[in-house]
Symmetry: C2
Subunit: 435 residues, 2 copies
């Protein structure tokens, strides 16, 4: 089954997720810490009627970090600021459950949700603690599976805190002097494996009840966590087939947790390259690819090969032997295994690693066709637009979105004032209300 219309969000990521996008002539090289620019972007996305903007995050940096990671805004503060200058678009921010406190997070997202009139979303990430993040958080250690157990308890607590007040708890009757109804104030009294949180939360529910929960896990534990807890999933599929399988799997898992399959929305990320002609799209791709020097590209690509120095190998011969450099086929390398086996060169591999080629490429009609194909095949409920280059968002919003609207596949006006309303998600019942 597919929904009637496509949902669309855009991942705003400053100077870009690549090592060299900031060097593009049209790029603002301080974009990641330029609030005026984020404001423009958010307003453009809102003018185009997108469901949400999305802010990714990370909790540590090194000299080798991508430019955008080195120097960027913290998501909750950024989205709160953007809430004040937008009125309809959803505001989804990434925060790690591993390194946060549920009471603080529930207050901050509760505040964002109130300030925005019900437009907040929280992308729950379960930071690994064996990576650098733990170094910034008192060397807190937690295993892979335990971090999902912790995240599930964290969600349980925050959702409980967001139920602290029934909708009509605040009476505010000046005449009688009754400010609130104590019977509609609920104390959580949570004591669990990882958290002890009494409550109640010191902020009332927002018009959408509580923030929309995004998640992006792909491991077994991550999928189950998302299927049980999330309203929306950010996925990064390589192909339509993979995306259909993932979405079906998530819908099935949601049902095993007693939810409806439609309670969970899958948002594959796409980085469309749009040109007036297919050739112009290819030119735009090449223009971006050419910003990466081969030295930088090899240095970047080495992270998929245990940081092995790749400059010692020939650039323009089939590079299948690179697979021998890595003991097992590890996570990120998997994406390149097939390509290497099919005979690509090191130069081609480095190019693909630093400037991946999107299946969503071509004229506006071609890109709209691909979007429609994925949507109608059940590969997506919505899409997470990850702008390709400084022109990527504008191109998609001004050229592709109107086609989707003409085809009846995308809204021509916001249906609701809240993010849940626009996404077609129900408002979670307050857990203390039994009617």
């Amino acid at each position: 089954m597919s929904r009637k219309q496509i949902k669309l969000a855009v991942n705003l990521r400053g100077v870009g997720d690549s090592i060299s996008e900031w060097r593009h002539p049209d790029a603002q090289p301080d974009a990641s810490v330029n609030f005026e620019l984020y404001k423009q972007w958010a307003k453009k996305a809102e003018s185009a009627l997108l469901d949400a903007i999305f802010i990714a995050d990370g909790l540590y940096i090194t000299e080798q970090s991508l430019p955008h990671f080195l120097n960027r805004f913290e998501p909750v503060s950024l989205l709160s600021a953007l809430a004040a200058v937008t009125s309809n678009i959803g505001l989804v921010g990434t925060v790690s459950s591993t390194f946060s406190e549920p009471f603080t997070l529930a207050r901050q997202f509760g505040t964002l949700d109130k300030i925005s009139g019900g437009r907040a979303g929280w992308n729950v990430v379960t930071s690994g603690t064996l990576d650098g993040a733990a170094d910034n958080y008192n060397e807190k250690q937690i295993e892979h599976d335990a971090k999902y157990r912790l995240a599930a308890e964290f969600l349980e607590v925050t959702k409980g805190l967001w139920s602290s007040w029934e909708e009509d708890a605040f009476v505010r009757d000046k005449e009688s002097g009754v400010f609130f109804d104590p019977a509609k104030m609920h104390t959580l009294n949570h004591k669990g494996e990882y958290f002890s949180v009494k409550g109640p939360l010191s902020i009332e529910r927002s018009p959408q009840g509580q923030p929309v929960i995004f998640q992006a896990g792909t491991s077994e534990a991550g999928r189950n966590f998302a299927a049980e807890q999330a309203d929306a999933i950010y996925s990064i599929p390589k192909t339509i087939t993979e995306s259909i399988a993932f979405r079906e799997d998530m819908r099935r898992r949601a049902e095993t947790f007693g939810r409806s399959a439609d309670d969970i929305l899958v948002f594959p990320s796409i980085a469309p390259v749009v040109g007036r002609t297919a050739e112009e799209a290819e030119q735009k791709y090449q223009e971006m690819a050419s910003l990466v020097t081969i030295t930088d590209a090899l240095k970047y690509t080495s992270r998929f090969f245990n940081h092995h120095d790749l400059t010692q190998y020939p650039l323009d011969e089939p590079a299948l032997n690179l697979l021998d450099l890595v003991p097992a086929q590890q996570g990120s390398l998997k994406n390149f295994t097939e390509a290497l086996k099919s005979g690509i060169t090191l130069r081609q591999l480095a190019l693909e690693a630093t400037t991946p080629r999107s299946p969503f490429m071509g004229t506006p009609e071609q890109v709209a066709d691909t979007v429609q194909e994925w949507f109608e095949a059940g590969a997506a409920d919505g899409f997470m637009l990850v702008p390709f280059g400084p022109f990527g968002m504008d191109d998609f919003l001004t050229q592709v979105v109107p086609i989707l609207q003409e085809r009846g596949l995308f809204r021509t006006a916001y249906e609701s004032d809240t993010l849940r309303g626009n996404l077609g998600l129900h408002i979670p019942q307050n857990r203390y209300v039994t009617n």
Copy 2:
């Protein structure tokens, strides 16, 4: 010594710090969660050229909490939103060092500081853990003196993180492809008693270097902490004499920590009641006082007497015997001891507890005179306006501020774009820069 001009901040506190202010005919009873109202307030304060708005906070509530405490915005999120709709006024928010993580706090205030163009301030509070806050934070326990040791280490870490990047670290030269200068990126590598934080921070310094540090401690440990670490102090003196002594003490302590006495600004809080005539001011006071029922007032006042039921005592007889109810003269009760000894009744005491009478009361000229007197006597570098009633801020800004301006005691234009600039504070040197 006193400075040339008075600094002014305003504490924005929703429905008020009293139990009944929300019942005033002009009060918006949802003020504490009404962002449009906070926006109006911030803009008014900015139009009047105030140095800063200030947001207090607390980390737990009970049924007995004041209306504003029960249901309000979280300060960092609120101030980030206000940053987007203001351009000159400082944005000072309260966050507890006891229940926060330095890396997260440094990022959030660093983001607020960047978004606002250098207008952020952090009011460091060292929440007691024997009170209800610990119940919302995994029952974390820490003793009174240790909490200041923790706070000092916390400040050390955050200030270190705010020095992660030298001012010119981000080169962003598209031609050469150099995004940043690794020699100007500094890794903190902090390992202390309470925190282990490697860094660097993933956001560059703001135009004011780092957020302004506010503090409000009055204990010996609190005073030393403020004298060593703070740029500004929020004090709550009863009299001008007390305030002069406090300010002198803090200036002297600052010097013992190797700082200049002028590096620290003392902001006594004041709640002026302004009328066209002294009688009108008295009427405004009585109007506010009358909103509190005697039952509510007694209930509220009982918190100063170990929650002893006060309704059993005569209302209109001298109430000196109430002092016997409390074993030792504890913190908050001290304020009433003198009054009780001088023979006030329980009704008068309850009135004073719920609606304290300000020494800053009368016509605009009288209030301006008192402000000037305190300032020139060395009782204050600035004042923290705590609006008395829903009209309190407007009255002061429109009637008293112009008089202070006429007298040359308050600015007629912002001196700077940053909070440090307006407060006349220097920009802290990056700790890694030795020139």
